[in-house]
Symmetry: C2
Subunit: 496 residues, 2 copies
């Protein structure tokens, strides 16, 4: 039997979406997102999800033909039926895990506008407005969080200091470390004698940056990375840092880089910046990782933790955590641009241009590891214009108020133990009845879908690591009733 196969004619015109199709499907996507954000309470924060559940619903092979008239209907269907039921819903008002990852109207529209422009801001010359808007919004943000003027461009790119947007705080950690190494090398230090210092409660991205930079063979290699003990509130012990540096100097090491954390991931401990600043040698690069807590600096009542900032070489925090700006948006500042660009600059012929050659502009590719970069300043600009200083403060103060309320409940109930001072929005506690019970509480809450929590371990007063629940309050949609409901869940569990 002969089978007749009708072969499609090869296409000569790519099936680009027409402007009218883009308008129609775009409006629909906007509405879909608005519906998604107004329907969180009708679904579990973390649905029951098994590995492979999504893979099993996706075709094994890619589509051959372009979309027909019904394909975008099917795409919206798949979003609803395959994606939504298999996501952890970070924007749910009942999401209290990790740290917040704020997504807002202005932030989403900034991402949209950036995608629409589709420019690559690697050089000033490839996107002047992208570069200059980023410079100005970073200056604005520096002012909003109370950073000294030496971290700002002001009216000239020839200023010594300035800021840029990195993808994450991990990237800021890495580039500050590379700048420190470059500075040490310029000072004549032996690259094999460099030492780096951070609290033992500092973020894992520090050990990872050391691995990337070739200063650690693995996560536990402390040849070059010295993790400093903490006090009983999990803050870096500045006298232990001073002692470690003293010993290292005597042994021929070169203290190249110190990271002070303002808000550790485990418990939001605030390292004593002023004490650290006086504990370190003049040539040592001092980086501040304020990834989470930095957002709260828009409120002057939290600026006490900036005491010591005049000694700081670089500083970062993530507006994509609690400051209403969609991921990815880490703000990173240096006091001396050249110390950074010396470590990262490279100029192939195909990127040469007059503005760069004249030294008249900032080329942000020299501030980061990748070459290409998005127009991320738009979303931050939209957020700052939409909220204004007062709106940002209101968001922070509201979640601090809710966290304080939860802290008060915990402190007033001896079935619960607050395990670290609450600073802004993170509340860390355990059950008095023991680690197993604390873990069971977390697992029960998460499995119920009523809320989502994450955990860590922290040493108790005897130095024993205990299982700890972290409640990070700061979601855009989180209101008082969600925190009250969470507390009732805790109470019910403890009483059972």
């Amino acid at each position: 039997m002969e089978v007749l196969v009708r072969l499609p004619l090869p296409m000569t015109t790519p099936p680009h979406m027409t402007p009218d199709e883009f308008r129609a499907i775009g409006h629909r996507m906007i509405d879909w997102i608005a519906d998604y954000h107004t329907s969180h309470e009708a679904r579990p924060v973390r649905p029951p999800i098994a590995p492979g559940a999504v893979l099993g619903q996706l075709p094994t092979h890619p589509p051959e033909q372009p979309a027909d008239a019904g394909e975008w209907d099917r795409i919206f269907d798949d979003l609803q039926k395959i994606i939504v039921p298999n996501l952890l819903h970070w924007q749910s008002p009942n999401f209290f895990g990790y740290f917040p990852c704020n997504s807002t109207g202005p932030g989403i529209l900034g991402e949209l506008a950036s995608a629409g422009f589709g420019v690559n801001g690697m050089l000033w010359a490839t996107s002047p407005a992208a570069t200059e808007l980023e410079m100005r919004t970073l200056d604005w943000m520096a002012e909003l969080i109370g950073l000294p003027e030496r971290f700002q461009f002001g009216d000239t790119p020839h200023a010594r200091g300035g800021g840029c947007i990195q993808s994450t705080a991990s990237d800021s950690t890495l580039v500050s470390l590379l700048a420190a190494r470059s500075q040490a090398r310029a000072a004549g230090a032996d690259p094999s004698a460099l030492r780096l210092y951070a609290s033992k409660h500092a973020h894992s991205s520090i050990a990872k940056a050391a691995m990337v930079a070739g200063l650690a063979a693995g996560p536990d290699d402390t040849t070059h990375l010295c993790l400093i003990d903490a006090d009983d509130t999990h803050r870096l012990d500045a006298s232990a840092l001073a002692a470690a540096i003293d010993t290292d100097l005597k042994n021929g090491w070169y203290p190249a880089w110190v990271c002070a954390t303002l808000g550790t991931t485990g418990s939001e401990a605030i390292d004593p910046l002023a004490d650290i600043a006086t504990a370190i040698p003049p040539h040592t690069w001092l980086h501040v990782d304020a990834a989470y807590t930095g957002a709260a600096l828009v409120c002057p009542e939290f600026r006490w933790m900036l005491n010591g900032i005049d000694r700081v070489d670089s500083f970062c925090f993530n507006p994509h955590k609690s400051l209403l700006t969609n991921f990815d948006c880490d703000c990173f500042w240096v006091a001396d641009q050249q110390s950074l660009t010396r470590a990262l600059s490279i100029m192939p012929e195909y990127l040469r241009n007059q503005a760069t050659d004249a030294g008249a502009v900032i080329d942000y590719r020299d501030w980061q590891v990748p070459l290409g970069r998005k127009f991320r300043a738009l979303k931050l600009w939209f957020v700052l214009r939409h909220y204004g200083r007062e709106g940002l403060q209101a968001h922070i103060r509201e979640h601090v108020r809710l966290a304080t309320w939860l802290e008060t409940q915990i402190n007033g109930d001896d079935r619960f133990v607050l395990v670290a001072p609450r600073i802004t929005g993170l509340v860390c506690f355990r059950l008095a009845s023991g680690d197993r019970e604390t873990r069971r509480l977390l697992e029960q809450v998460n499995a119920s879908g009523a809320a989502f929590l994450s955990h860590t371990t922290l040493p108790d007063e005897t130095g024993t690591d205990r299982y700890v629940i972290r409640v990070a309050i700061g979601g855009v949609l989180t209101q008082e009733r969600h925190v009250r409901s969470l507390w009732h869940v805790f109470e019910d569990f403890a009483g059972s």
Copy 2:
């Protein structure tokens, strides 16, 4: 005289955009983008822009108050009056600079959906659907470009190979280099004896990765990085590579990593992969950087350049260049996942979870330098579903057709010299009248705003570096008439 100052009451509720406001402003932004993309021909590709022009139009200080009713009108005004006149318009049909940076309807809507979800896919557990959709779309893409099955997950995360989305090819270069170092270390190599190899025409991100990894003190440090000579079509000379490795081995070096470029930035030279594969020792990591040209592999007629792929350890290309997916989207595959994750994995307590502990899932944070990551698979999924294999092929073949047409004109006119073989969409030429004239042509075209071109230098047959114009054809909106107009501009100039 007493001055009465009315202090604003502190806000208690953050001024979040309501769902209705989001719908209204969102629809307006969608329409604004559609209008932007349909109005490119009415404006210069590169407007006349002076450093500081944007800074000078932006307020020095951030806004204090939240947006009033008119603020979003002013934001749209500012987009039109401050941003648009000061951008290089990468999406213009007359943009032929650098490489394309495709922005499409499906790509933009993917970015929008991703921003709407606002999830952080650092772990499978923090975004199962994001992880599994990425696994599947990377398998699809591997199939579409003809990569062997060993680079795919198939139906299990326990497969040896697999892919992920990195931000840029620079990131792929860096992580493959880190994997190679880790592998060399595991094989007992002295980390200070590692040598890396690439063509002297390879991308600057290779020297930058060496700097980041601590294997180069600066862009010109060749202690560990060996740049290999090219043949007269600018392809890496595999016999020179073999000789360099031979000499290095005799001198106690450890050849750790080789990068083959499929499509150099300067001239789209295709390094001879099969010859490279046989020239290197068995333990050497072979990475392929196909950042630009990889997109053309959706068409079988270009797969000859994959000869040798069975020896390759990692491979990347950028759908955000010519494959219709918004920046950032670099697809990166490894043949052996563990060789990568061994170099990048680190597990703090606050990220521990059952799925990871059980080894049942892929945690993409172990495939990259940063911890946090976006739901970037959505935009790639939308693009693949919208275009299908045939639509992708049609896009590539159309721009290859236009580039071939331009090449033919240049070859038929002895005022112009084609300086490198045209492979897919990049046409490189100079004027027979000399470098100064070639540069003047580029500057005149770019200043006119009628089109935008970029340049490089390439050695001529005597080995002398010559100024070269690069015409990269592959914009979403670029049609035959735009390329014909460009050629007429070239002809007019040459005739004057």
